[in-house]
């Protein structure tokens, strides 16, 4: 029974990975449009302000209806202040995520490099969006971010602690990504050599080096 369940889970994981990889191609609709900057600049400004200051708390508020409900259900009486459901805010940011992903034994070097490529593409997309070089909305970038995060979670089957932490810190990572895009837009892009890139990813793993 358990063996069948394990096989089924593994098959579902592979199918999920395939589906995610196929659906992640849709943000190609974000077409470079240098002429459309003026028309959409105002919309971008409102979108820029929304995700950082308002959208994330709004999502957090949506994600924690039980806490508010518990407080209301207390009818002003002494409700239990520290419940297990109220998780502490995770301090995991993009750099910590990268460091832990580098060290995790749940993925091989090539998988990590492929994920790194996807992450760099996403950062580049955010940078272009900030520089008004692409006709993209925050929703599209967010959808692509969610797809990438789901890929990572699907691959972290053997490292449930990291998968749990990433899942908890989804909004923190999103904000960190937006800030990273801003930083990258400000400074010139540096290129990594093969040795450095592989050493960057394979540090902490005992896999075969490229």
């Amino acid at each position: 029974m358990m063996r069948n369940h394990g096989k089924r889970t593994r098959a579902c994981g592979v199918a999920l990975l395939m589906a995610l990889a196929m659906t992640s191609e849709w943000p190609l609709a974000c077409i470079a449009a240098p002429g459309a900057d003026a028309a959409t600049s105002q919309a971008r400004q409102t979108e820029t302000a929304t995700p950082i200051s308002q959208a994330a708390p709004a999502r957090k508020a949506q994600a924690k209806p039980s806490v508010a409900g518990d407080r209301q259900a207390g009818h002003g009486s002494k409700a239990p202040a520290a419940k297990p459901s109220t998780l502490p805010p995770s301090a995991l940011n993009m750099q910590e995520l990268i460091d832990r992903l580098k060290r995790t034994p749940a993925m091989g070097v090539f998988t990590k490099l492929a994920l790194r490529s996807d992450a760099l593409d996403l950062i580049e997309l955010v940078r272009d969006w900030r520089a008004h070089r692409r006709r993209c909305s925050v929703k599209e970038i967010r959808a692509r971010f969610d797809g990438l995060l789901l890929k990572v979670l699907a691959l972290l089957d053997d490292d449930p602690a990291l998968a749990r932490d990433i899942s908890r810190a989804r909004e923190d990572i999103w904000r960190s990504l937006l800030q990273e895009g801003e930083r990258r837009a400000a400074r010139s892009q540096t290129r990594l050599g093969t040795g450095r890139a592989v050493a960057w990813m394979s540090a902490g793993t005992k896999e075969v080096k490229v």
């Binding site: 063996r3 990889a21 191609e25 053997d158």
Partner: protein, 88 residues
């Protein structure tokens, strides 16, 4: 006789179903995961017939065969970017 046969079947099933030890991602599994990550069908968790070589630019080119018979070319560029191309 029958008991031994069933015991063998159970042992084989357990071997196939049991997850590998933590941190034991083989190169074949790694390449298969990379292929699937790029949206291509592989038909299994591990590839076979892996050939690896360096190209002139300093990158790495790998060819591998998936369990479904399809062959793929995995390129790792000097910048660390990964590109997967089906060979046929």
């Amino acid at each position: 006789m029958k008991k031994g046969f069933y015991a063998g079947i159970c042992a084989l099933a357990a071997l196939l179903a049991a997850p590998g030890p933590a941190g034991a991602v083989t190169k074949a599994e790694d390449i298969a995961a990379t292929i699937m990550l790029r949206g291509y069908a592989c038909g299994g968790r591990a590839v076979s017939d892996i050939h690896e070589r360096k190209d002139k630019a300093g990158g790495t080119v790998i060819t591998a065969t998936c369990p479904n018979g399809r062959r793929y070319r995995i390129e790792v560029t000097p910048e660390g970017r990964v590109r997967v191309t089906p060979l046929r």
